[in-house]
Subunit: 297 residues, 2 copies
């Protein structure tokens, strides 16, 4: 029996609706409009597209949105100065610096320059540290938090189950392993972190109740790596050549979708699975930042 | 064939000797004496003993040692003020606040009050965050770093091997899983974090090449949970009643030592395994803090 699809688009849409009504409540009851600043350095086409969609989503949900487009020649010091202005700007509750940054700017320096209480992307080491220590006063990174929401809202039990995470990136693999293994509701999983240097990778993946593929290699997860009935979350977005497509390529995940979907119990498609969740959680985090700032429950 | 013992006492002693000669070099070449401040609040007998042994070790290695004994009635604010003095004290490179603290003081607040560059115990969320993100500019927590050293200095290959960590405490389980799964030399393991809520615990433990028991339950790990020839690291220190002992109890680990040692390839005893490593790594971290502060390679 082919797997049931996890509809990330529909779940993200439900979260956006919840966020919009929370924003309406904050405006009505507290005269508070959550504000998100997004900084784009240079003109990377993918980044321009991401930033525009964030911008539009803010407007759609009734959030204040500030967009800073800086030239690719911006120095690290100039960028830090802009961030610092936003750290002290009372109309801004969340700050996002769009990655990747030009090579002359250190991402470590920039991410550590954002006020941790406005770090809605959870790139500051302080917030990752809080996550690792089970301190829930910080933020959860957007894509990993989105994966947890996909599981919860699809009725997948997490507690006590074996989650195998393929990949240990700072944006997805590492934080999703921390979130799902936390001592907390909708977590408490047994989590294995695998990567390119892992021995017996196929065997380990087959032991997963929930397999999260975030390794950045097209079609890496084959059917023989998946246990019958497992839940498969595909975080990959890879371009593969496709002469029949208008752009000459198409986007595929880290999972070899067709054969794996015949074996899995539940699976996310690419696109339309994890992708739409990232922006939904960014909006959610910004509202949370505004509420924390003003001590609103 | 019974397991070979990992002699933590001997390995810790070798690290102490290395640290002592590094301190001698810093004094001779840089006129720099690394300094460690240890703060004890109250008179918990175990804590008094720990603090005294740290104090003595500083003296033995030629390190500057400052010990603050504060009454159990000390307020959170008073303790923070003392820590802040030490944050600005140029003769002090490492600050350790002995846990547990009295219940009226928040450990989260106190640990976050230590200057992260003097946080040689690695209890500040910023340093745990750096560890989680693969940023090596911070510190590694002492016991987990000691476990890694035990493995390295016993010739145990870590890269690509399957490490199962039983327990996810902020002091041992969580950070040791981060250290051993890092993208780095003497790491790169596949790491599974298990805990009291994990399903199929015995089966998961049996899949370990290296099993780290840090669950805080005497004799929790039985022979049937260990694969023939596996490396077993026992972090537990539990008191069990023993009428034949002078104190009426004896200390045992989380591993059912006798039967497991007949199956394991290598095993740490309790005491004399992981225990002596913690203080060795504390001294090592303090010297590292002094060198970082003064830009010395």
């Amino acid at each position: 029996m082919p797997a049931r699809l996890i509809d990330g688009k529909a779940i993200a849409e439900r979260i956006q609706t919840e966020t919009a009504s929370e924003i309406a409540r904050l405006k009505a009851e507290h005269n508070l409009t959550p504000g998100l600043a997004v900084i784009l350095v240079g003109e990377n086409p993918a980044s321009v597209a991401y930033v525009s969609s964030k911008d539009k989503m803010c407007t759609r949900l009734g959030m204040h949105s500030l967009r800073l487009n800086l030239p690719a020649s911006t120095t690290e010091g100039e960028l830090l100065a802009k961030i610092n202005d936003l750290n002290f700007d009372r109309t801004i509750h969340g700050i996002l610096v769009q990655a990747p940054l030009p090579p002359h700017i250190s991402e470590d320096v920039i991410f550590a320059g954002v006020d941790p209480t406005k770090d809605v992307d959870c790139f500051h080491p302080l917030n990752i540290g809080k996550l690792a220590l089970g301190d829930d006063s910080g933020f959860f990174p957007c894509t990993p938090a989105g994966i947890q929401q996909l599981l919860i809202r699809s009725g997948v039990p997490i507690e006590g189950r074996h989650v195998v995470v393929l990949g240990r990136s700072r944006i997805v693999g590492r934080p999703v392993s921390l979130i799902l293994s936390q001592k907390a509701k909708n977590a408490n999983a047994t989590v294995t972190v695998c990567h390119s240097r892992s021995a017996n990778l196929a065997e380990i993946c087959r032991s997963a109740d929930i397999l999260v593929a975030a390794i950045g290699v097209a079609h890496f997860v084959k059917a023989e790596m998946v246990r019958e009935g497992a839940v498969v979350i595909d975080v990959g977005i890879n371009r593969v050549e496709d002469k029949t497509a208008a752009k000459g390529y198409r986007l595929v995940g880290d999972v070899d979708f067709e054969p794996v979907s015949l074996k899995a119990g539940l699976i996310t498609p690419v696109p339309g699975g994890v992708g739409p969740m990232t922006i939904a959680m960014l909006m959610h985090n910004t509202v949370r930042a505004a509420k924390l700032r003003h001590g609103i429950e």
